[in-house]
Symmetry: D3
Subunit: 196 residues, 6 copies
């Protein structure tokens, strides 16, 4: 049993509008399961579509952040927000992209102990500032990024991911979103074992 009652039952996929149904079936086809974030948010189709569009605009955008680095930001900021779903689900994705099975657990526990470069640490520090105390962002925060080769446009990318997951973490906590069981193990063991 869980400590918070689940108040928002997920809709039947077949009852959803066509575009959403198609998308969810495609995800299921590709991943073998439908991540709960989609099922939870699907009860509000307009919010669902905007959420997915915003997510993709930030996470699929080609920029100077690698796919793994974007997920590092998600895991570290989701941890300070106490968002179980995002830590576990994005931790899985981070393990896959980074090919480091320890990195997600490290970033969730304490970024100061994570196996990351000083440049990545600056990126995480900036993201944390946006996550925790955006009112106090100052020129010195941008300058710290510049020292590691990041531009102001990179700062926007880093900060916007932290800002988007400020929203996402709150929706997951509000809706009692639980990670799919698959995420917990994903990326921890070599591929062939998992399929075997």
């Amino acid at each position: 049993m869980t400590a918070q009652t689940d108040r928002y039952p997920v809709p039947d996929i077949n009852s959803l509008p066509g575009d959403m149904k198609d998308m969810l079936l495609e995800v299921q086809e590709k991943s073998g399961f439908v991540p709960n974030v989609f099922l939870k948010l699907a009860r509000r189709p307009d919010e669902f579509r905007a959420f997915v569009a915003y997510h993709d605009a930030l996470m699929l955008r080609e920029n100077s952040l690698s796919k793994a680095e974007k997920e590092m930001i998600v895991v570290a900021t989701s941890a300070v927000n106490g968002c179980l779903y995002c830590i576990v689900a994005h931790g899985a994705i981070l393990r896959i992209y980074s090919k480091n099975p320890r990195l997600a657990d490290q970033l969730a526990a304490n970024p100061a102990k994570a196996e990351i470069t000083p440049r990545q640490r600056a990126m995480i520090d900036f993201a944390m500032m946006v996550a925790i105390d955006s009112a106090e962002i100052a020129d010195s925060d941008f300058e710290m990024l510049h020292e590691h080769g990041f531009t102001d446009d990179d700062a926007w990318d880093i900060g916007a991911i932290a800002a988007f997951f400020a929203l996402s973490n709150r929706m997951a906590n509000l809706s009692n979103m639980m990670p799919n069981e698959e995420f917990y193990l994903m990326g921890r063991v070599p591929r062939e074992k998992k399929k075997g």
Copy 2:
């Protein structure tokens, strides 16, 4: 001068994609000016469109929250996030919807002193929980809402607005978004005087 350098110059409206240009011109036609949030976010068209879609899904949705109540949530949660733009811009909208020229300043300063009903106070308390400490949301928070006649679906609406502005406040603080001068006075004086 301001304490934070403005690093993200706004694009020329004429350089924007057609749909965005049309939208901004329509807003200007209707309001007499283009709110800076649109100009700041327009440098990232995909993010802009998702932001507007998400905002409208939440703020234009017909539900048991009045237009003024939705804006109360925005002002109170933006204040704890130290977001000047949202306090001033949505404070203006709240004054217009509520026809109470004091309410926005009260909610920004201290919701405990605001001229609101106990039901609205419960709504604000729940929104604050989502804004500040969503990890600790518990059944008792939902029960407090139920005592004032709110449903779980209303709780989603209240929480989702707080969550969306958690994102919006952080983007405004990151991008040094300053309120248009028009917002400061809007809704404080009777219409005819303002036009006279």
Copy 3:
């Protein structure tokens, strides 16, 4: 209705000691109304007189802080203390002295976004230190002021205003002091319009 019961009804002006009655009538004559701070505190004549004397000793003192700068300190520190009365009443006075109708709202929302000089920002930072964490005041805080041309005597003036409003804010919150309606609009519109 308000969320906190008003437990301290204001006394009839005619029932007050002569010196206080004269002072309140003079204020009414000059301003057109009696600020609620005087009416609330008047139930305790000895406290009232000491409060007014202390206020005047700090706020009317001729020193290197302009009248507007003193009020900047009041608004910014009252905001971190969540004091509605002082934010609104002193926000009005700040608008009048500074002739900037946006400044009070900016300082109340987030000093980092306020239209102030670096010298004034240092002044606000020092005042905030006194307001929030005076136990940790260190030589480096004084040195920051010196870098902007402030003396140790100026530091006393800045800090003493923050300290006095630490008291004032707490009394306003305790006694459920509400701002007079007049303060909300004062200084936002040019003089002639307001009278017209």
Copy 4:
């Protein structure tokens, strides 16, 4: 040596205005020394006089709080503000009034462990609310006091002492006010021993 430079040398008593000089000599006559709070604040005669008047209006007022209870409030709230001077000086006075040589150290360390009655604990809890988070004072805080027989007027007295020492603590921290050596031992040993 101390960690904070002492920037505000105390004036020569003979250089002070007559009323202040007389008062300080009287205190010295009576106590055997002049508490440093008077010497530090004396450099600003107008602030000095208002401070003393405010202090006396609250601390000498006859009401349902005993002299010892008033000092309990001072010690407990000064501790959360990290004010060495007030903890030590008012701790001495509390020991004398309460005839309990342990009480001041207990209240400074942790009110939950102090040898006080449940009524006094409620008084301290209310004072702490005013000291730490006055913006959130609610009807329930007053009701807690009522349950222990306190009136709303008592609540004012309790809160006003906490509010005044919010000011006093900040001035002591700002001005690097150090307790007179005499205070540390005062009230810890029976009178005859001290004089012997």
Copy 5:
């Protein structure tokens, strides 16, 4: 690379006193590796022995807490202290004892979302109180435990584990203790697969 320099190299096992050498070899024999906590603390033999004795007195003690429940306390309180080593190492042990491969990740991220009973939630809440704010422990905290059938002796057991890991977490953070790679995967996959 890591963000914190590793300042405390581990000693050669063969250079250690006989009792410690024997113990470490026995652990290695049994587990297949020596947990880094032993290697890090071994540079201080007296502290090492007291640490192990204290740990065993609490964690091996037979009482009304199951082995899994003791580890739940360790994981949840280590998470609020940001202790990577203890989260990962004791998370592994918790997975093995509880036979629930998700539980450790849930407790580290947000106990409110963990698959635990209300009784276990009360246990965790009490442990968190000890970990975060022991000065405020009150009768009501013990009563909450009593409502779930815990005795005062159980409260000691719960609190003492939280208190011991307050020490342990700080030593791990201070000494830059990193989890052995083996811990990350332990208990996540069925035994036969891991050995296969």
Copy 6:
């Protein structure tokens, strides 16, 4: 009366295991009384023995910290943890070792005002970091110590004392450990007076 019920009665010394009984009688012989920490913890002999062993390993260890400096760390970190017992008992020991009757009260109230050297202030700052926010310990904290001549081994000693009292403070708060009356006055008056 005290605010927290005392739930853990102390055992009869004669009922204790021989080694513990001998130790307590020896302490009584030497000090004239048995400090309550021993009586409270004695109900759990295994925990008692490990506690004493750990305490002695840290506090009796010969290193570059003087006996007084070790106690400074204890008093300052116990104060931030709100541990009455440790502040009063170790405050007494600090007064004796330092021969400064004011120092313990200063460190408990506000280390920034204590009569200590800059080197000792750095030591206290590092200890506070371990006590309050060990997850964020960084190379810069060690470098601050190095600037004052401390080695990494000294950093371990400083941090380990802060870590051990993180445990000790929590056990004292949990078990409602009250300081023996003797501690309050100890070290405040010259020896001959105390014995006379």
